[in-house]
Subunit: 135 residues, 2 copies
């Protein structure tokens, strides 16, 4: 009957955090939208794989989760040390912390739509302030 | 028994959009947190009043709403023309569009906590790109 979508969402985050990307297809449709752009499940996997490659200590840490019907909303908080270019930023070797507030629509237990807002402004501010320590 | 929190949230947005800020106290506790900082209901009202003064055509337009228990998550989309400094940005007289992804905790039908992420990066990008039309 009703899927326990919150448990399912936490299982999806565990796949990401345990780097079991082969299991992603169980949680993500073959065609989905990411911020209203149509992408494939393979493209979604590639995006996450690239993030993990650039940021080996990336952990998806849910601080707030709201689930209703086929929708999940989550506040993810990241504290990580990017090693390569990440989200368009050149890392400085130090830790950055930032949030992502993301909405998902699930369809039969798999993600069909992602609407994500990542706090790039905060990342840019941290990098800039460290580059100008006299401020 | 159970408050219809989604209806209550839409009523709160109507208060903002109809500029009935005297009614805000019905929807906001006298003490609340905004991004983990303790503020007063009056301080929250002042913040919104300042936003509206700087951006007369500010409309809170919910594109996604997820409600469960005492929690509301919402994607708000703004298309507006700031007239004075807004979110730290100096306006250029043109329209900007940006999203806010915001989580609320309600307590007895009134907002007790707000965790907001506003897409400042997008605003900065729009202003910068218009300031350098040759890019």
């Amino acid at each position: 009957m009703t899927v326990d979508l919150e448990a399912r969402y936490h299982a999806y985050l565990a796949v990401l955090n345990e780097r079991r990307l082969d299991d992603l297809a169980q949680f993500v449709h073959e065609r989905l939208t990411y911020n209203d752009e149509e992408i494939t499940g393979g493209g979604y996997r590639d995006m996450i794989a690239a993030d993990i490659a650039a940021v080996p200590d990336l952990v998806f840490d849910p601080h707030l989760v709201v689930v209703s019907g086929d929708r999940v909303a989550c506040r993810l908080v990241f504290r990580c040390t990017p090693r390569e270019e990440f989200l368009g930023f050149t890392p400085d070797g130090e830790q950055v912390s930032f949030a992502e507030h993301v909405f998902y629509r699930f369809d039969e237990g798999r993600i069909a739509a992602v609407t994500s807002l990542i706090d790039r402004w905060s990342i840019a501010t941290q990098l800039r302030d460290r580059a100008r320590p006299s401020r």
